[in-house]
């Protein structure tokens, strides 16, 4: 949008690009990423059940009962908090890199790569931080 002067056009129309571009994406990511996390976790649990069924012949009912016993509400909560933090990182890094891009299509490609690398790195860092916090608070 920067390269095609769309951001400049927004500013000349007295429309805040942050409000117009970043806000809807952030809101969407805040809704979608926790949903994806739930879907991903459910698929992981289901895959675990199928693996146990195929490799050891364990009944799915036993597997799901043991999953339900070992899972606590806190696990769901921490997963959702983390996903919202990741959404914040991904959208803000992406938009920051997008707003800073200068030049032509080459610069857009470089900027997209930089956004992926930086957001991946920051998501890992945030994950480490959150895991440490949740571990320490759970231990008390």
């Amino acid at each position: 949008m920067v390269v095609t002067e769309e951001i400049d056009a927004l500013r000349t129309m007295a429309i805040d690009p942050i409000e117009f571009v970043l806000a809807p994406k952030y809101l969407a990511a805040l809704i979608v990423l926790p949903c994806l996390t739930i879907l991903g976790s459910a698929c992981g649990i289901l895959a675990g059940g199928l693996f146990m069924r195929i490799s050891t012949g364990m009944a799915l009912s036993i597997y799901f009962t043991s999953v339900a016993h070992s899972m606590v509400l806190r696990d769901v909560f921490t997963g959702l908090v983390k996903s919202m933090a990741f959404a914040t990182i991904i959208v803000h890094v992406g938009c920051l890199e997008g707003f800073r891009v200068r030049g032509g299509p080459d610069a857009v490609g470089r900027s997209a790569t930089a956004a992926v690398v930086k957001s991946t790195f920051l998501v890992i860092l945030a994950d480490v931080g959150f895991t440490a916090i949740f571990y320490l608070t759970a231990a008390r």
């Binding site: 002067e5 400049d8 500013r11 000349t12 129309m13 007295a14 429309i15």
Partner: protein, 269 residues
């Protein structure tokens, strides 16, 4: 007698990028209702001056006054009000491909007014009709030709009935016939709405067709401001060179050919 305030006043503006001076103490007044064409070669600073005038960048020093309001020192609310009084048609049209043409034109109306949707639709259609695109509202910008995109961008620039209309290289990438149609559109808009128009271009035919006055930039400085006749009569070497399309360096093809042959034979260039 009270002096009439210019619509746009550029006062002693200095702009530098990475230590390189792009605009060097530029002074320019654009009067209400006149069409000012900013001329200059590539890298002369005309696009930078345009970005200063439309408030996208702030000068290192100096002032840009729009109807007496200093853009660099105005509060956000005032800057927003000033921006609403300037319509900009960008070189690449800058239409949002995710929206239809009519939604592009309706965008500023939806963002800045509380008009009913039916009124916005009617106003959008009127703006499109003014630029000759009344039937193209439902199309995606990607489905438009270069000239139609420029017209749609003009319609969007007109959406909030601006006092000042700014064109960045309106003829760029257009064939001479479509470029001439766009010139007529600019003249028609000026006649119909008595707007102040600023056009950045290096197309001389277009400039002489639409301008009331012209300003010529060279290496970040204004070297001439005047009417078409004054510019045409100028004896300034750079203006003469620009008007007569004389290149800076004339390539001596025979000498170049000899240099290449020497290089291929293993000699120094």
């Amino acid at each position: 007698m009270t002096e009439v305030q210019p619509a746009i006043s550029v006062r002693d503006v200095v702009v530098s990028y990475d230590g390189r001076r792009v605009l060097d103490h530029v002074n320019l007044d654009v009067n209400r209702g006149e069409t000012m064409v900013l001329l200059g070669g590539s890298g002369s600073g005309k696009s930078t001056l345009l970005r200063q005038i439309i408030g996208l960048e702030r000068p290192e020093s100096g002032q840009i006054l729009i109807n007496g309001v200093d853009l660099a020192r105005s509060k956000p609310r005032e800057l927003k009000r000033v921006r609403r009084s300037i319509g900009v048609a960008f070189q690449n049209s800058a239409l949002f491909n995710s929206m239809s043409v009519e939604d592009n034109i309706a965008l500023p109306l939806r963002e800045h007014t509380r008009l009913a949707e039916s009124t916005i639709r009617l106003m959008t259609w009127m703006k499109l009709a003014v630029v000759g695109l009344a039937d193209a509202g439902k199309l995606s910008p990607q489905a438009l030709s270069g000239g139609m995109k420029k017209r749609a961008a003009v319609a969007r620039a007109l959406a909030l009935d601006p006092e000042v209309l700014v064109f960045d290289e309106p003829s760029a990438g257009l064939d001479p016939i479509v470029a001439a149609e766009l010139d007529e559109l600019i003249l028609g808009l000026k006649r119909a709405f008595s707007m102040t128009v600023v056009v950045v271009t290096h197309e001389m035919a277009s400039a002489f067709r639409i301008a009331d006055r012209m300003a010529m930039l060279y290496k970040g400085s204004l070297i001439a401001v005047g009417t078409k006749e004054e510019l045409q009569a100028s004896t300034h070497p750079r203006i003469r060179q620009f008007l007569e399309r004389v290149p800076d360096n004339i390539v001596d093809t025979a000498a170049e050919s000899q240099r290449i042959q020497r290089y291929l034979a293993g000699g120094a260039i």
